[in-house]
């Protein structure tokens, strides 16, 4: 059934659903830097109201000590969102199978493509990039190392952007696969921007396909940062490989 048509309120807006259409029920929780007392509970309620919720009820309040209090609340969203206005930005490509990708490379490039991967700067989380590049792969999806027409080089973790770019030039990489897992204090934004800056300084940015992935990476974010694509959780080697080869073809890279 197509809920979009049916599941909206009179103004065609979609609202959260508790147990009745458009009741707008939302659960939320947060901590306030206030000692635990009635006033703090009032403040919690006010927070809910300031978010445009009605019938806000504080179902739980706890003293966290040190002048902090924790709250669980329920409330009802009075407005709604216009789904017809929303757009999903995702990378333009369709995922092919391993074999198809190898064939595609033979047909369109007639040579092995070089994919260079790393988890850059201070980030030491290799499991993600390994899942994409190493033979073993992830959830039964083999990694890029297993592709005949791909030379997959995984530099591992904590690779400085400079070393990464140097290696890219040395290996004449066709695609750079960057991983960023740690996002605290938005450190990933700084790291990713730094890499792009260096690539542009070296004047090689448009000579290669640049993609980034990580649990909190979206395609939208990647584009904003100047990457060709971004990949989130549960990505597999075939996804990124499919994008890279189709993107190279689109950009008539040889």
């Amino acid at each position: 059934m197509t809920m979009q048509q049916t599941a909206t309120d009179s103004n065609g807006l979609v609202r959260p659903y508790g147990d009745t259409l458009n009741d707008g029920v939302v659960q939320f929780s947060f901590t306030l830097p206030l000692p635990h007392n009635e006033l703090a509970c009032e403040a919690a309620r006010a927070v809910g109201e300031s978010m445009g919720l009605s019938e806000v009820s504080v179902t739980c309040s706890r003293d966290l000590g040190q002048g902090f209090s924790f709250f669980v609340l329920y409330g009802k969203m009075t407005s709604g969102v216009d789904v017809s206005r929303l757009t999903v930005t995702k990378a333009e490509f369709e995922t092919m199978k391993k074999e198809a990708i190898d064939r595609y490379i033979q047909e369109h490039f007639g040579r092995k493509l070089v994919f260079l991967g790393a988890c850059i700067e201070t980030d030491a989380h290799t499991v993600g990039i390994d899942a994409i590049m190493n033979m073993k792969g992830f959830n039964g999806h083999k990694g890029l190392e297993s592709y005949h027409e791909v030379q997959a080089i995984n530099l591992g973790a904590q690779v400085s952007s400079d070393d990464f770019v140097a290696k890219a030039l040395e290996m004449k990489a066709d695609a750079l696969l960057v991983s960023q897992i740690v996002t605290q204090k938005n450190v990933h934004l700084a790291n990713l921007t730094r890499l792009v800056d260096i690539l542009e300084a070296e004047g090689v940015r448009d000579k290669l396909v640049l993609v980034v992935g990580g649990p909190r990476i979206s395609h939208e974010l990647a584009k904003e940062l100047g990457y060709d694509a971004g990949f989130g959780p549960n990505t597999y080697a075939e996804d990124v490989a499919s994008f890279v080869v189709q993107e190279m073809k689109r950009r008539e890279m040889r």
Binding site: T20, S29, T59, C60, V72
Partner: protein, 524 residues
Amino acid sequence: MSHLIIDEALVAKARESAKIIACQVKQAVNGLTTSTIERASLRLLGIDGVNTEGVPLVNIVVEHLAEQNLLAQGALTPVVAAMDQQGMTAQEVATAVACGALTLTKSDSNSDKIKNKTLQLASEACRKIAANRQQREQLIQRLGKGPTPYLYLIVATGNIYEDIKQATAAAHQGADIIAVIRTTGQSLLDYVPYGATTEGFGGTYATQENFRLMRQALDEAGEAVGRYIYLTNYCSGLCMPEIAVMGALERLDMMLNDSMYGIIFRDINMRRTFLDQFFSRMVNAYAGIIINTGEDNYLTTADAYDQAHTVLASQFINEQFALMSGLKNEQIGLGHAFEINPDSEDGFLWEIAHAQLIRQVFPHAPLKYMPPTKYMTGNIFKGQVQDALFNVASVMTGQTIHLLGMLTEAIHTPLLQDRYLAVENAQYVFNTMRHLADEIEFKPTGRIQARASEVLAQAAQMLAEIEQIGLMEAINRKMFADISRQPDGGKGTTGVIVKAADYFNPFIDLMLGGASNDNATNSN
């Protein structure tokens, strides 16, 4: 399965006491019937619908008969006599009575001719129910059912159509059993509302049409998920027998049906309740419906540790009443609950002791295990953990019917997402601990064993005492749930009727015999 050492002699003694207790009650109410038993019988005859004021025709006919002083002989024969004379269907007779066009008289209502006709009509009704029962068995045969503990989910939006949405979603999420919670207060209505309803508080009206709509939806869902989905409702309150009939006609699979809940928690008259539960369970039994008893409720008003033995004692009594009504052991879903104060040290050990004891004392009963409710709070994150430990206890002790705990129990009736999270919680725990029960043994010298033995001894002792004073006096003395009720007090007393010598109701003989093929119980 892990095992506790159980004093079987003591179990036998307790069961014997319970049997005597149940017989005493049966004697005490022999020679009595109730208005709702008569209405239920008329429903079986095919009378349905309401008048312009929304009063059910069965209520109108029964009141009419009372005015005519004909009720003592049972509502069936006067109606059948009228059908015979007027060449009308039962429904037509009822409609005629309702609009005052027809007055029912004694006439030849207790002639053999009419009695025979009544018997025939009654057995037709029984065949309908037997057919539903067979259909259930065929569906289970074809679709199969989930592994135990069965996931039991409630819907309670107040609106049958919202209920259906939520129930279907729940089935897709993994529910094995769907219970439609009744609206607050319906249990005290002395009639059954009619038609599809969309307004209820804390639950949805139990009407035959609502039963039908949900049954249909769950049959479809069952086909979609490749698993038979059980439907449950409440056979409880002032209309137990009529709701039993509705459930039988619409192929419900389980019904909450307790021999004392109405007395204790709804202050319904004792005799009324004992009569109604007997008739309604007889219908449940014939329809192959699994009953769920309500001992869990005791622990919402009484302490789960101190009063654990009252739960066990009550289960022994409910078992005996059930067997008397023709229910098979596989149909007796005795209730208990995970309600020990979460702050008490080793509380989980006592929950295990209680659950495992009951599991072993009633080896064939599809035990109904209720989640923590009383000590749930507005802290939904702690609630998830309380429910997780409940799930652990259930799989560790091999419970059968597992009511899913809701993280929002203390806040509101379940939201769609609450139910999803509850299913996810239980499925994870059950799967990752699948064979834990086979792996562990309880130390024979341990605290768990000691606690179990203590509870059994207390229960046997309590039953011995009740055997002396009688069940009605025991209830009067607050022996269950810390609540006291007088034998002659309570709601619905006026509905208790002394049967005349010529009282005739063939359903009792027809149904107590059990359905034609006997092993065809909706068993686990």
